[in-house]
């Protein structure tokens, strides 16, 4: 099955810029369907980006984050060719992770 995480990490000197698009419904638990039933909450609670075993970016999310979240950030201390590990866990316990090479 294809990963839900698309990532692009580009090194520019000492700074690496990371962009991620995660496929996830991010249901808030407040929305009702056409039959009037509440769509149960299903949202990512934590996203982690790791480089050489150290967390370089951790986000704690909640129902306010919209569907298919997009994250962009930059960090120092990585080089082209290094590996970046990305993982998320949602409130139902589901998770996904992927590894990307910094370009």
């Amino acid at each position: 099955m294809a990963s839900t995480i698309r990532v692009r990490a580009i090194a520019n000197g000492d700074t690496t810029e990371v962009q991620t698009l995660i496929q996830h419904p991010m249901d808030s638990g407040f929305v009702k369907d056409a039959q009037g039933q509440v769509i149960p909450a299903r949202f990512i609670q934590q996203v982690t980006f790791e480089h050489k075993g150290k967390s370089v970016f951790v986000a704690d999310w909640g129902p306010a984050v919209a569907k298919d979240p997009y994250v962009k950030f930059a960090f120092k201390g990585a080089a082209k060719g290094d590996e970046l590990k990305i993982g998320w866990v949602d409130n139902k316990g589901a998770s996904d992770s992927t590894t990307a090479k910094i370009q």
Partner: protein
């Protein structure tokens, strides 16, 4: 009938040349789509002298620098990416009878989006891309797709993507029925409707670049070039049909059925006056 139209058209041209008809006089009864398109484009170019012509297809992003920066950042990882991939998969998957969408379109359906809609002389009606896709399905024993849901949006997203950069090339055949369809679309565009009494022009001709609540309004020139769009407001993709329907209900007008004659004629008009501007779809909007 055609002779009368041609005569009137010649009369008007002669009168114009003689300067008899002053600037701002009521439009002649003979439709002249080419002149319309020129005037349409000139209006927006004059209103936004700093915008490049091709940039109008980017809607609100051509009107607001801050929004443009945010959009450009996201375009490296666009939110329509999932729909695009789904669309490509759907497009290449054969029907139950073994045929594919490619069999229904010129060039296998690749790089043809800029030719839609076109006026079908045999049927005497405007054929849009969405309509053509569903007709292809029906012709091959498949159920038609909803015009306002994800599957149709994914398919049109893929087809638009294969035409990215190609200029709109809508044909206006020398056929009074085609001109009538164009005129009907134009009439629809400028007609006020709904309890809020807005026409399409109220927002997209009178007020592009201005705010409507939290949104920045797009100019009508090039407004279909980015379709279908991923709208953050919808948290999903939307087709041209979906947009027409929701715009109607937003002015508190009861929408017509998707792909109704009025809607197809409207799409014909809006696409024709944007001839020459590049297809930028699929797009992303707030």
């Amino acid at each position: 009938m055609r002779v009368v139209v041609a005569f009137l058209s010649a009369l008007v041209t002669a009168a114009l040349a003689a300067g008899v008809i002053a600037q701002g006089a009521p439009a002649s009864d003979a439709p002249d789509p080419a002149a319309d398109a020129r005037a349409f484009r000139d209006y927006f170019v004059k209103k936004f002298p700093k915008s490049k012509l091709e940039d109008f297809v980017n809607g609100p992003y051509s009107m607001n620098e801050d929004m443009r920066r945010q959009w450009q950042g996201k375009e490296e990882f666009p939110p329509y990416e999932f729909a695009l991939e789904a669309g490509k998969e759907m497009f290449t998957k054969p029907f139950k009878n073994g045929k594919t969408y490619a069999d229904c379109f010129e060039n296998g359906g690749v790089g043809v989006r800029q030719n839609f809609p076109y006026f079908d002389a045999r049927q005497g009606e405007v054929v849009t891309l969405e309509l053509a896709l569903n007709r292809c399905r029906s012709a091959n024993g498949e159920e038609p797709l909803s015009y306002v849901k994800d599957d149709m949006a994914s398919l049109t997203a893929y087809m638009a993507f294969t035409s990215r950069g190609k200029p709109f090339d809508i044909k206006m055949p020398d056929d009074p029925r085609a001109r009538a369809a164009y005129e009907n679309g134009k009439r629809y565009f400028y007609t006020r409707r709904g309890q809020l009494n807005f026409s399409c022009a109220s927002c997209h001709v009178q007020s592009p670049g201005e705010r409507l609540r939290a949104e920045i309004l797009a100019p009508a020139l090039g407004i279909l070039n980015a379709m279908p769009i991923y709208r953050s407001e919808w948290a999903g993709m939307g087709t041209i049909s979906r947009r027409f329907v929701t715009c109607n209900s937003q002015t508190r007008a009861i929408p017509e059925e998707p792909q109704s004659e009025d809607y197809r004629d409207l799409e014909y008009f809006l696409s024709y006056v944007s001839n020459g501007l590049p297809i930028s779809g699929p797009g992303a909007r707030p």
